[in-house]
């Protein structure tokens, strides 16, 4: 079957691949491009482990067809650190011991980033809402909520 060309910007660099029609963005990122930071936890849209940011919006890469992302700008957790310096969210997840098995972590960080990009000083309720599509089975969520609030505080201090 004929392959379909797709082209998008991933974490600041241009990517072009030939894929099978119907390939999900999750498959394209992981299997074709080799960015395995989005995880396949359910392929149903119920766990959030595959979350990525497409043109500024949080999306589930498991339910997004790659060919609908032509020309898009995509951010994944593997692209957050700049020059080896961790993003404030990554730093906060470390400092608050918010990771255990780590499988949900990249998706959680994407969901949190989508929140902080629009709402730099969120309330606890806003953080809870922002993380509500992402499942964690290890932590009981509280350390993750604290990590996002910590990162937001760090951001606002830097801005001030």
């Amino acid at each position: 079957m004929a392959k379909i060309p797709v082209q998008f910007t991933l974490n600041g660099s241009e990517k072009a691949e030939f894929i099978d029609s119907g390939t999900t963005l999750l498959q394209a990122l992981r299997d074709k491009i080799g960015d395995t930071s989005p995880k396949g936890g359910c392929h149903q849209g119920t766990c959030g482990a595959c979350s990525v940011i497409i043109d500024g919006e949080l999306r589930l890469s498991c339910l997004t067809l790659a060919e609908t992302c032509n020309g898009a700008t995509i951010t994944t957790t593997s692209g957050l650190a700049e020059g080896g310096v961790l993003h404030p969210l990554q730093r906060a997840f470390l400092d608050t011991f918010a990771t255990q098995c780590g499988f949900c972590t990249p998706g959680m960080i994407m969901a949190a980033k989508a929140l902080l990009d629009h709402t730099p000083n969120p309330s606890r309720d806003e953080v809870v809402e922002a993380l509500s599509g992402n499942i964690c089975r290890c932590t009981g969520y509280e350390p993750i909520i604290q990590a996002v609030l910590t990162a937001a505080r760090a951001n606002s201090q830097n801005a001030a």
Partner: protein
Amino acid sequence: MALALQTFATVKAANAALKAAGTRYLGGGTLVVRAANEGDVSVSGLIRSTEPSLSTIAVAGDKVCIGASVTMAAIAGHPELGTLAKAARAVGGPAIRNMATVGGNLFAPAPYGDFAVALLALDATVSTDGGETPIETFLANRDGSRAVVTSVSFTLPKADSFRFLKVSRVKPKGVSVLSIAGALELSSDGTVTSARIALGCMADRPMRARAAEKALIGRTLTADGIAPALAAAGDGTSPITDPIASAWYRAEVLPVHLGRLLLA
């Protein structure tokens, strides 16, 4: 057959393509791509249209027309659709709301389809290239519906006349135990002059609570005033049983939650 996506500039062309066997319309992907991922091999072709009107929200006075591809997030964030924001936010988590569309929600089986419950209470009209259909008729016939939904239209309710409640086990995002939407108009003395109440999870698709609506007319929104409506709330319902709750439970708590919504 591998899964293949075809994209068309017009709804008309998409409708033509949907005549082929094994095709489904791709909205936000939250229903169809999930089905394909889970091994539903009955779907081999996905069809979508990029016609701009599908993604447009048009508000003229109190008349609203929402394109079928408009997402829940777009509705929740629209400055003139504040009364519907709660119902739009009731759907999924943030990522799902950035993807799930108005058109798709009309087809979501219970316990999903909370926004369609709101649209039913608004007595919306569903448009396709073939014409306009009252939402209640559309929902009743949706299983055989093949034509691409292009938009839904309704009269925007006044802020205090529209109420929405979703009850879920998991917060803030769980799927519905039940959902209730109510469009109520009151006279100056507080008596109900018109009422439309729609229920989610009380059947396999959103339904109107006509007996309760009727019982509210001429009554005030007090504990005594709504008692006949609560007693009639379950009339005609056949609640679903699923992992979230049994039909028995849904039937038992429907009047409780309806009462809380009406008295809120």
